[in-house]
């Protein structure tokens, strides 16, 4: 029953916070090299699911599997050690620092000795190589993050996670509040990662056109359950729109009847 190239899987996961049930029964799987789009209304449980997969929350019930083995993620650093990295919307970048120092933040290349003197040359060179490798185009790695656009910052945050040997990458609305040009920058980066096939990605997104552009498969999360799971090649923007519009209508009716 376990597919050989399956990287991460959640089975019948639920999560409650006191009386509030965020996730009812979620089963989700991700194969090596795959890009999965996760759709869902605000409050459907996307963030909770993401935080369970990164070890930030523990599921109330259910089981996680990593490479086919049952696993209990004890903490964010435990998940990281397995290669599960998340890029949250706040990006965890420091505006005052330049690109390469952000890329290596907390994993700096230092010369020996108790002072931990930074090897800026090596970090600069490695950051340039790595960003070029990923197709991330920025004016220079010497500029402060504050001077970059939203898309460029997101690209750097993604590049940092990938550089830190991510096997599973979770992207929380990477193109939120971005124009088409900026979004294209991120989507190109995701395309390149996909071509290389070394990392599998879950993207939380709202934009269907983008999902069809980069994702292999789509899952829809509604009221704490996965209600839809299809390859993008087997579905259409129309089908997804109808599903979500129907959800919206029934919600409206429920409110009106009340």
């Amino acid at each position: 029953m376990v597919e050989s190239n399956e990287v991460i899987r959640a089975e019948h996961v639920s999560k409650s916070f006191g009386h509030v049930t965020a996730l009812t029964d979620v089963s989700i799987r991700l194969r090596g090299g795959e890009v999965l789009g996760l759709l869902g209304d605000n409050g459907a449980g996307k963030s909770t699911l993401m935080k369970i997969l990164t070890g930030f929350h523990r599921p109330t019930t259910g089981q996680l599997y990593f490479r086919g083995e049952p696993v209990e993620l004890k903490s964010v650093s435990h998940a990281r050690a397995l290669g599960i990295e998340a890029v949250y919307q706040d990006l965890a970048l420091v505006n005052e620092l330049n690109v390469y120092r952000n890329m290596f933040l907390q994993r700096e290349i230092v010369r020996g000795g108790p002072m931990h003197i930074l090897d800026d040359k090596a970090m600069r060179r490695t950051a340039m190589e790595h960003l070029e490798n990923m197709g991330v185009n920025i004016p220079s790695v010497d500029v402060e993050i504050a001077r970059l656009s939203g898309g460029q910052r997101q690209a750097i945050a993604v590049a940092r996670s990938v550089y830190q040997d991510a096997k599973v990458l979770l992207l929380d609305e990477p193109t939120a509040a971005m124009g088409a040009k900026e979004s294209a920058l991120i989507l190109d980066v995701i395309h390149r990662l996909k071509e290389k096939g070394e990392v599998c990605i879950i993207i939380i997104a709202h934009n269907y056109a983008q999902i069809f552009d980069v994702c292999d498969r789509v899952n829809l999360l509604q009221n704490g359950r996965i209600t839809f799971d299809k390859e993008t090649s087997e579905t259409s923007v129309q089908e997804l729109t109808d599903l979500v519009v129907n959800e919206y209508r029934s919600a409206r009716q429920a409110v009106q009847q009340h």
Binding site: S77, Y88, D90, L91, A92, L93, V94, N95, E96, L97, N98, R101, L105, Q106, E108, V110, M115, H116, I117, L118, D120, M128, L131, E132, G135, V136, N137, I138, P139, S140, V141, D142, V143, E144, A146, R147, S149, G151, K181, E182, A184, L185, D188
Partner: protein
């Protein structure tokens, strides 16, 4: 070079249209210029002031007066260096001026009780470090804002120093050579200050500690998310700042030849914070330079010394100092705006 990649060139902010290499070095030069600008502007202000006072008083650049200038500047610069580290990691230390008075008393009592001088000095600095550690504990673990923590500590340490000293000054006991080396000679005093400034500037801009200090102040949540122990970074900087306060007090005690329970206090603390702010350090964290704070302390010292020579009263001096801080901050904030508009 990432710029060489053919894709996505449309989304690159291509302002100059110049070749990759040229654009890159231009960016770099611009970045360096902007980074250094604040320090350069305060240095230029200092030079202009020196010229002005030399013309009006004729004795400003005499060796005697330079010695006086060092007295006005050196220990403030040492405290300012520690204060910059605390400010850059997003906190504030108001108690450092009181530690300045406490440390030499600890040294004095230990020395009187038979501890040799050097270990006694170290003991004084260690007690200062403990004060910093308590500041850090209350701020980081008990989550009291550092403004309040160190305000409380300011009174507490001051009261403690007055109590143990009985309110009376004492004389430090040491050999002449030792007294000179510890700050009685202006040359030694300025060597202490410059060495500490250079070392800490290196720590801030070239070591992991400095990088994490900037990250902690610049984006505390983000820094914690990437795994930086922000509480630990803050603690180290509180301890460092407090110990530098103790060291500055010890140096001044030997220079003046008297350990005064009322020395330093809020005056030297505010002078140090003013030096940091004039030198380009933000109170909001993430940005600051030790060298800038040194120049800030120097400009304050030049003003104080120059006005004293010109016979301007201390009241006038305070007005000018206050005005200088306000003008500097207005200019700094305007420049930051300009930079954001031009950079983005």
């Amino acid at each position: 070079m990432p710029n060489d990649s053919p894709s996505m060139s449309a989304s690159t902010p291509n302002r100059t249209g110049a070749g990759t290499g040229r654009r890159h070095s231009a960016w770099r030069r611009l970045g360096l210029f902007v980074l250094r600008w604040r320090e350069a502007s305060i240095l230029i202000a200092g030079v202009l002031l020196v010229i002005y006072f030399q013309i009006t008083t004729h004795v400003f650049l005499s060796s005697d007066n330079i010695g006086t200038l060092v007295q006005y500047t050196a220990t403030t610069a040492i405290i300012a260096a520690g204060e910059v580290m605390v400010l850059v990691c997003g906190e504030l230390d108001l108690s450092v001026g009181m530690v300045y008075a406490l440390s030499p008393f600890i040294m004095h009592f230990a020395h009187e009780a038979g501890v040799p001088l050097i270990p006694a000095i170290i003991l004084g600095l260690a007690v200062a470090g403990v004060v910093g550690a308590i500041n850090a504990f209350i701020t980081v673990i008990l989550e009291v804002p550092s403004f309040v923590t160190t305000l409380g500590m300011l009174f507490l340490v001051n009261g403690f120093t007055l109590t143990v000293s009985g309110g009376f000054p004492v004389q430090p006991q040491a050999s002449d050579a030792m007294t000179n080396a510890l700050g009685a000679s202006p040359v030694a005093e300025i060597i202490w200050a410059v060495a500490i400034v250079l070392i800490l500037q290196f720590v801030l801009s070239k070591t992991r500690w400095g990088l994490h200090t900037i990250a902690t102040g610049g984006n505390p949540l983000g820094a914690a998310e990437v795994g930086i122990k922000v509480g630990w970074i803050k603690a180290r900087n509180f301890v460092l700042c407090s110990m530098l306060g103790g060291l500055a007090g010890t140096i001044d005690a030997f220079r003046i030849g008297s350990i005064d329970p009322l020395a330093g206090g809020t005056q030297i603390m505010f002078a140090a914070i003013a030096s940091a702010v004039i030198g380009g350090t933000l109170l909001t964290g993430g940005l600051g330079t030790i060298v800038g704070a040194f120049f800030g302390a120097l400009v304050l010292g030049i003003l104080q010394d120059g006005f004293t020579l010109s016979g301007v009263s201390a009241y006038t001096f305070d007005m000018i100092l206050g005005g200088a801080i306000l003008v500097t901050m207005v200019v700094n904030i305007r420049l930051t705006r300009l930079r954001e508009l031009g950079g983005g």
